[in-house]
């Protein structure tokens, strides 16, 4: 019976964060928790009478097991001043970027901060941007304490000096919105003033006709000069470059529309086309706006500065002092704690260094360094705190030099979108038809009609619908990708994606996941020994301990009380006494035995005097890797370039097709060169990578996709960020991007059809203002609805 009960309870979820409860023993007020962190948050909120937090959503928290960051640098006024928005002698206003914001409970809690501490005066959350703007009295509550408070309730702010947050704070001064507003205003009004003419006016109303005409012209003027100004600039620029982009026929159409309207109104020969002009500009501006859609909380342009910490602890004679990174000098003695990043090339002075370079070089296992060795910046120390002497300033370290390397600079990508391609021919054909129509009327001896036909052709064939087809299709595709946790930088990248024929993968962190570990045990353990191990490992928060607890699974029965003298040595192992027997768990050096060669981390077990065996924990391939390769191998060339060694070559050979190039031990520069080689062979290459060592290749490739398990974490500059969870969907993403381009082609066909209908009237010189005023919006609406529906239809077909 008790077994069944246990099983049922194992299925229970943490009251705070909803994670499965793997370790028992966190229990409060009839609620179970997965860890002490979650329980503490609950306790804090409960004591302040804020249980409402749990009522708006089930399990509103985020599991909170990562180690707490050291925020002591926030006491340095120099650093703090760069972060805050406003400060006077009483209050400070600061805006934090808080990645954990994800539900309405988060909003509620953060906006009720004042109930936790009276020194927070006001807090406001911007949900989409994941920002909280907090006003507090810094006299009673220093900035550091505020950050610790947030951290304690599970909302750690992400603090970097160079990042999206500060940029996002700017007011909404996008001139495009203002232009759309003005164009919409003019469109609405000029349409109203055109109605009398469309419906026909009685004889006595005719006296108003010219008045309405002039009023309309007045509305056309700001549209021409202000709203459409970008189109003229762009058209002139592209003509100077001897290229024809789509803005050329658009600008031409707009200009001709206005001139003909002005001519007709002033000579009192007609009502003009001002309403058509306004609606045209209004719609194409909306298309532009749709295309400009950006992500608030994801930055695609991050560089090393947002990877490094804000400040580093410098040891001086007068004690430890946090110093901002830019002020670190050669010869400074710095302290790097467990899980912190080494900010500059430095020499190891004290402590045992085990540096995880996986993000920088792609090597999967930590590297041990001995005293006096130079450690390159960018690695993450795992284990005890170490002391280092800086040998190079941050801006000239190995890593940052790589970044500033010429080859890493943004490449001018010679990529032609479909619309660019079409517009070249479009303009030429359009002008040819216009001149032809005019010429044939002149030959006919009807010079009056020639001018009418010429302008009518330019007006009616204005590629408004064409200009809208690609923004609307691609932005619909963008939001579908977004829903599937694939964040594409802009609409052009989707078209780029459709043209890709070669995919190059990185290994560590890209096709293998740092989260998914496979664990093996070599040796023998009895049931009691398993229980002892489990009891000891539960005391540690180290990821490897948690993996071992998971592996031991149902082993339980020993309560914590039977574990005594528990001691943890960060990065090395732990020691405890269980029921009178000494249990030692840890690395080879910790146990005092020689290292064995292995792929991942190795954890040895000693109970009493006997070595019982060892666990090997390896990064395993991401879920769905083999099906992904299977799905892609027919249409795409697949390759792998890794910075790591070729230990797992055999396994990879089984997964990748036989014609795939598998390269190992490649430096960042060599990765970039390999991409260049593929491109030299005429391939359109997509690089799928994750770390800093891929940064060059990601930029060089026609499309760079960064894989990240937490999109809020640092990822190198790229065209798209793929959430690790959606890795298996990659083939479908690629297929869908091709369909999106197909939709653009189809909608181009439709808009061409409208143009032909319009042209057949225009060349005859019989186009009335009413006809233009109806045709223009109808074609626009058709295109917008067709593209949106078609794109979603394709998405459904791909189950996205």
């Amino acid at each position: 019976m008790s077994d069944i009960k246990q099983d049922v309870q194992l299925e229970e979820k943490c009251f705070h964060c909803g994670d499965k409860i793997e370790e028992r023993g966190y229990h409060l007020d009839n609620h179970d928790f997965c860890c002490l962190g979650c329980q503490t948050v609950y306790q804090v909120l409960h004591e302040s009478g804020m249980q409402q937090y749990y009522r708006y959503n089930q399990h509103p928290g985020k599991s909170n097991r990562t180690e707490k960051e050291d925020f002591s640098y926030l006491d340095e006024p120099q650093i703090a001043d760069k972060l805050i928005d406003f400060k006077d002698d009483k209050i400070t206003i600061i805006t934090f970027y808080i990645p954990a914001i994800h539900c309405s409970s988060c909003i509620w809690l953060l906006e009720n901060l004042y109930r936790l501490t009276p020194h927070v005066l006001q807090s406001r959350v911007d949900f989409m941007k994941k920002q909280a703007s907090i006003t507090f009295s810094h006299g009673q509550l220093p900035l550091k304490e505020l950050v610790y408070l947030l951290s304690n309730i599970g909302y750690d702010p992400k603090i970097t000096l160079q990042d999206v947050v500060k940029e996002g704070n700017k007011r909404n001064l996008n001139p495009l919105v203002a232009k759309i507003a003005v164009a919409g205003f003019c469109f609405g009004n000029s349409m109203l003033f055109s109605f009398p003419d469309y419906f026909g006016m009685g004889a006595f109303e005719k006296e108003y006709a010219s008045f309405f005409g002039y009023v309309n012209l007045m509305f056309g003027l700001p549209v021409l000069l202000y709203c459409a100004s970008d189109y003229f600039k762009s058209a002139i620029f592209s003509l100077k470059q001897k290229r024809l982009n789509l803005d050329v026929p658009l600008a031409l159409g707009i200009l001709v529309l206005f001139m003909r309207s002005a001519f007709e109104v002033i000579t009192q020969t007609g009502a003009g086309f001002t309403d058509t002009l306004c609606s045209l500009v209004f719609f194409i501006l909306i298309g532009k706006w749709v295309q400009q859609r950006t992500y608030y909380h994801i930055s695609f342009e991050r560089d090393y500065r947002s990877y490094f910490p804000v400040a580093v602890t410098v040891l001086t004679e007068s004690g430890d002092k946090p110093v901002q990174l830019a002020d670190v000098r050669i010869g400074d003695r710095i302290l790097v704690r467990n899980n912190e990043i080494i900010p500059a090339d430095a020499m190891l002075l004290k402590g045992e260094a085990a540096i995880d370079f996986s993000f920088v070089t792609g090597e999967s296992s930590p590297i041990h360094k001995i005293l006096g060795e130079i450690i390159y910046a960018g690695g993450r120390q795992i284990g005890e705190a170490i002391e280092l002497e800086v040998v190079k300033p941050v801006s000239q370290s190995y890593l940052t030099r790589l970044w500033n390397n010429e080859n890493y600079k943004d490449y001018d990508r010679h990529f032609q979108t479909f619309v660019n391609f079409i517009s070249k021919y479009f303009t030429v054909v359009l002008l040819a038809i216009a001149f032809f129509a005019a010429a044939s009327w002149v030959i006919d001896g009807n010079a009056n009609k020639a001018w009418g036909a010429f302008t009518a052709v330019l007006i009616i064939a204005c590629p408004c619908a064409l200009a809208l087809s690609s923004p609307f299709t691609l932005s619909a595709a963008l939001s579908i990708f977004d829903r599937n946790k694939f964040y594409v930088k802009n609409t052009a990248a989707i078209e780029q994606m459709a043209s890709i024929d070669t995919l190059v993968f990185d290994k560590t962190g890209t096709i293998s996941s740092p989260k998914a570990a496979s664990i093996y045990f070599e040796g023998r353990l009895s049931a009691t020994e398993k229980n002892m191990l489990s009891a000891v490992c539960r005391n540690s928060n180290h990821p490897l301990s948690r993996e071992i607890v998971k592996w031991l699974g149902s082993a339980h029965g020993l309560s914590n009380s039977q574990v005594s003298d528990f001691k943890e040595f960060p990065g090395r192992g732990m020691l405890a006494n269980v029921g009178g027997q000494q249990v030692q768990i840890g690395s080879a050096t910790f146990m005092g035995i020689g290292n064995i060669k292995s792929d991942g981390s190795v954890v040895f077990i000693r109970i009493g005097e006997d070595l019982k065996g060892y666990f090997t924990v390896e990064q395993s391939w991401r879920e769905g890797l083999s099906t992904l390769v299977e799905d892609l191998r027919e249409d795409y060339g697949l390759h792998l370039i890794s910075g790591d060694n070729d230990r797992r070559l055999d396994a990879l050979k089984l997964i990748f097709p036989s014609d795939a190039t598998l390269l190992f031990n490649r430096s960042p520069m060599e990765k970039l060169d390999a991409i260049q080689q593929f491109q030299g062979a005429g391939k359109h290459v997509c690089m799928v990578g994750d770390g800093l060592n891929d940064a060059g290749a990601l930029r060089k490739a026609d499309l760079g996709i960064a894989v990240s398990d937490d999109i809020n974490n640092f990822s190198p500059g790229c065209d798209a960020i793929l959430d690790g969870d959606s890795f298996a969907k990659l083939p479908r993403f690629f297929a869908f991007s091709k369909d999106a381009v197909k939709v653009i082609h189809m909608s181009f066909g439709i808009s061409l059809l409208y143009n032909i209908i319009g042209l057949s009237f225009a060349v005859q010189g019989t186009m009335s203002p009413l006809f233009a005023a109806i045709l223009m919006p109808i074609s626009t609406v058709t295109i917008i609805s067709f593209t949106s529906l078609m794109t979603r239809c394709y998405a459904k077909r791909h189950k996205l």
Binding site: S104, M128, V177
Partner: protein, 54 residues
């Protein structure tokens, strides 16, 4: 029918007032966050609940 000119002038003036109102709203950042207020309005005034949690 000279009144037409005045009426049209009035209507255009009124429309301009609304356009200016939009600009003002945009400049003061009222369109910056279009989501959070929709959630915020749904929160209860919780003073009464505090006495009987859960």
């Amino acid at each position: 029918m000279e009144i037409m000119y005045i009426l049209i002038g009035c209507s255009v003036f009124l429309a301009l007032v609304f356009l200016c109102a939009f600009f003002w709203a945009n400049e003061t950042g009222q369109h910056n966050d279009t989501y959070t207020p929709s959630v915020r309005i749904l929160f209860d005034d919780d003073r009464a609940d505090e006495a009987n949690p859960e």
